[in-house]
Symmetry: C2
DNA sequence: CATAAATATTTTGAGTTTGAAATATCTGTG
DNA sequence: CACAGATATTTCAAACTCAAAATATTTATG
């Protein structure tokens, strides 16, 4: 009966802080837990089976989807890592003969990175094995739960989308 | 009509590879995408608001839940990172006056790491702000979707639990 | 056309991360 | 008690990661 505006707001905050907010925090911590666990498993398998690493696999995967190659900036945006980071990974993959840097016509600042023939062939094989690993690690995930998971995660991604370009 | 055993198996594999297996791979990629995006946001906020980092926050959080302190090995197991990693993070947090290393009675190999009074106070404040950030980043996540997400992710965690110790 | 601003990439320095090796200590077996 | 193996932690080298600074080039503006 004696509630004023600040009481209202405080009560609302308290509820949010102790219930929904906590549930979201738990959800985030669970996402973190699963992604760390799975990344750890995949990293070890990559190392043992392919003598390679996850970041390299990610770069190869991005370039396998874009057979005409990508610019460094496109690559770093697509992988959500910094430009400087991609430089190092690509350097190593070039050293391994998986990638080549191709100069861009009419823009000498930029270069296109693309898979070599060997890189394409190697990655195609690795991708199949990788998919098998993931399916195994997620073998308790039914088709409907997979769909549910994707739907829920998309609502989160969309909210945190890069401000409209 | 003319199917033999190997045909059966191949068809089954093909179905799994092209359907359930692909759905699970998509689910994994979506987990990865969300966790990278959210980690990036939180990293930036940590840096700007607290002049600190996520790994340090994670260590403080683990020790805030265990006020009597933890051993280095417990800490690294709890955070799912390597021993050597924790050593460096703890070194820096000790340097900042947030943590202390306390020798363990009867075992001179080990030491217990725990929050200092200042560390406890600082972290308590940061944790509240952090929870607010997460709730904001997850603001499109309803209570029931948060619960659904947690349930599904738990089925994945449990499958990949450390082999019973 | 000069040149300021924008863009693409690399370099740099600090921090994080791993896996393996090294160090120190403890425990169990003879 | 000796000492082999187990355990706890640190050290190490290589890789990854970021944010900021530096470099090179292009574009737009006066």
């Amino acid at each position: 009966m004696n509630m004023n505006h600040s009481d209202d707001r405080r009560d609302q905050m308290d509820n949010e802080t102790s219930d929904l907010s906590k549930a979201r925090l738990r959800a985030w911590l669970q996402i973190l837990k699963v992604s760390r666990k799975i990344e750890g498993e995949l990293r070890e398998k990559m190392r043992i089976e392919f003598g390679s690493t996850l970041p390299r696999f990610d770069v190869l995967a991005a370039l396998y989807r874009e057979r005409d190659g990508m610019r460094m900036s496109e690559l770093s945006k697509s992988l959500m890592v910094s430009n400087g980071n991609v430089t190092g990974i690509v350097d190593r993959l070039v050293g391994e003969g998986m990638l080549v840097r191709v100069p861009v016509e009419n823009d000498r600042r930029a270069s296109i990175v693309r898979l070599t023939e060997a890189g394409e062939k190697d990655f195609a094989e690795r991708a199949l094995v990788h998919e098998g690993w993931v399916s195994e690690l997620f073998s308790d995930l039914s088709a409907s739960d997979a769909d549910g998971l994707i739907r829920i995660l998309r609502t989160i991604s969309h909210h945190n989308e890069a401000p409209h370009d």
